[in-house]
């Protein structure tokens, strides 16, 4: 399908040079994004993540193949589109990254501090990113269906909603400042309306994504962290309840839309 699309774009180029000149900027950018769909460097992280899932690692020299991501031990397909959710064994609502950290700790003996106190793109945190990319890819094009059956799940939704609209920091920004209305953009970046009607492959449905501008793979944790940084807030602790609550809010709002993970972004 991707190959046909690339051919279609090339065919357009060959037969309609005049039409190209009259194309709008956003059409041009849409075409640029389409050209990058085939051969997303995220695949390199997917491959690494799959290896890490199966590799015996850590002090306990075990793989992650018994990790329960919410659909039972070892069930990966469909898990991504039901996260964050409540887990009875930890008694907490957890997102993908924090659940991977739990499994790495329980099954492999890897200290969660190595991820939580780590740095983006390095060490065990980079491994979580690769794992998250692979796990996410196993639910590609599936529809979000986060559970809200458990009381804590519903409470986290409400907390997430309040966090979304909470203004603060030196610029008095909230998530809603950029993502609370239809049709907003920063320079040439369209900003998804995250408190409104969700769309396939947009917003929550687009992370983890490969960012070409930095050549880095970003998970939702990274995206949220950077949003707070851009709002001039202190950066949140990795996998903190606040970030998970926001994930629940965004994910439940995205119910019924398709996941595009792993995506490719500017």
């Amino acid at each position: 399908m991707r190959k046909t699309t690339l051919c279609a774009v090339l065919a357009l180029a060959a037969f309609a040079p005049h039409a190209w000149a009259q194309k709008s900027t956003s059409d041009g950018i849409a075409e640029y994004r389409e050209m990058l769909q085939d051969g997303n460097p995220a695949e390199l992280f997917e491959a690494k993540g799959e290896d890490l899932w199966k590799q015996k690692r850590g002090p306990r020299k075990a793989s992650l193949e018994r990790c329960d991501l919410g659909k039972g031990p070892g069930v990966v397909k469909g898990a991504f589109v039901e996260l964050p959710r409540y887990f009875a064994d930890t008694g907490k609502v957890q997102d993908l990254e924090s659940r991977l950290v739990t499994c790495m700790s329980q099954l492999q003996g890897i200290d969660p501090k190595e991820v939580i106190d780590g740095a983006w793109g390095k060490g065990e945190r980079a491994n979580v990113t690769a794992l998250a990319t692979w796990v996410g890819s196993q639910s590609k094009d599936m529809k979000f269906n986060l559970p809200q059956s458990q009381q804590q799940e519903r409470a986290f939704y409400e907390v997430g909603k309040r966090l979304f609209f909470q203004r603060g920091g030196s610029h008095d920004f909230s998530c809603a400042s950029c993502h609370g209305e239809e049709g907003k953009r920063i320079r040439l970046q369209d900003l998804p309306h995250l408190s409104g009607k969700a769309e396939d492959g947009v917003g929550f449905a687009a992370w983890p994504a490969y960012r070409v501008s930095s050549g880095e793979m970003w998970t939702m944790q990274h995206r949220l962290n950077d949003c707070y940084r851009q709002q001039r807030f202190p950066e949140p602790i990795y996998a903190s309840d606040a970030t998970i609550a926001l994930g629940v809010y965004l994910g439940v709002n995205a119910r019924g839309t398709k996941s595009a993970v792993p995506a490719i972004k500017r």
Partner: protein, 155 residues
């Protein structure tokens, strides 16, 4: 002792100079060198082509450059070079306004189609070129403009 070393150095320098002249004259094949540093250091389309031992490039409808009109980010710009000309030995991808113009050179053999796609960094909006170099040392090109924008903070 000293004079012998000096004269040996001088002799070496002279033979290098002669070799250089022979290469410039087209007698020694430049493209036989595996990695053409001179081509990759060149700062203009003309200098790249000259470093590869070909004549001044002429525009040709039989060479195609593909790429987006607008690139959201200059770090990754998909560019393709293709040709329907016969006797082509090399297909180049060039970005005129880059600090060094040459991005990549693909050696064409009978075993592959003369059609290559890769992704390049563009420092700024620039004309991008596909150049086909033929066995008899002629160069043909196609070009297009790619605008590079700075996106916003998100996405």
């Amino acid at each position: 002792m000293i004079s012998r070393k000096t004269s040996r150095r001088a002799a070496l320098q002279q033979s290098l100079a002669v070799a250089g002249m022979l290469v410039a004259a087209g007698v020694l094949p430049r493209t036989a060198l595996a990695y053409n540093k001179e081509a990759f250091d060149a700062k203009t389309v003309a200098d790249v082509v000259k470093a590869l031992g070909a004549g001044a490039p002429a525009e040709s409808k039989d060479v195609t450059i593909t790429g987006p009109d607008i690139a959201e980010n200059g770090a990754v710009v998909p560019l393709g070079a293709a040709t329907t000309l016969a006797g082509v030995k090399q297909l180049l991808v060039l970005v005129e306004k880059n600090p060094n113009t040459m991005v990549a050179g693909f050696n064409v053999t009978d075993a592959v189609e003369p059609n290559f796609l890769t992704r390049a960094k563009l420092g700024q909006s620039s004309d991008v070129y596909a150049v086909a170099i033929t066995n008899d040392g002629k160069a043909f090109y196609a070009k297009k403009e790619v605008k590079v924008t700075l996106g916003g903070c998100g996405g």
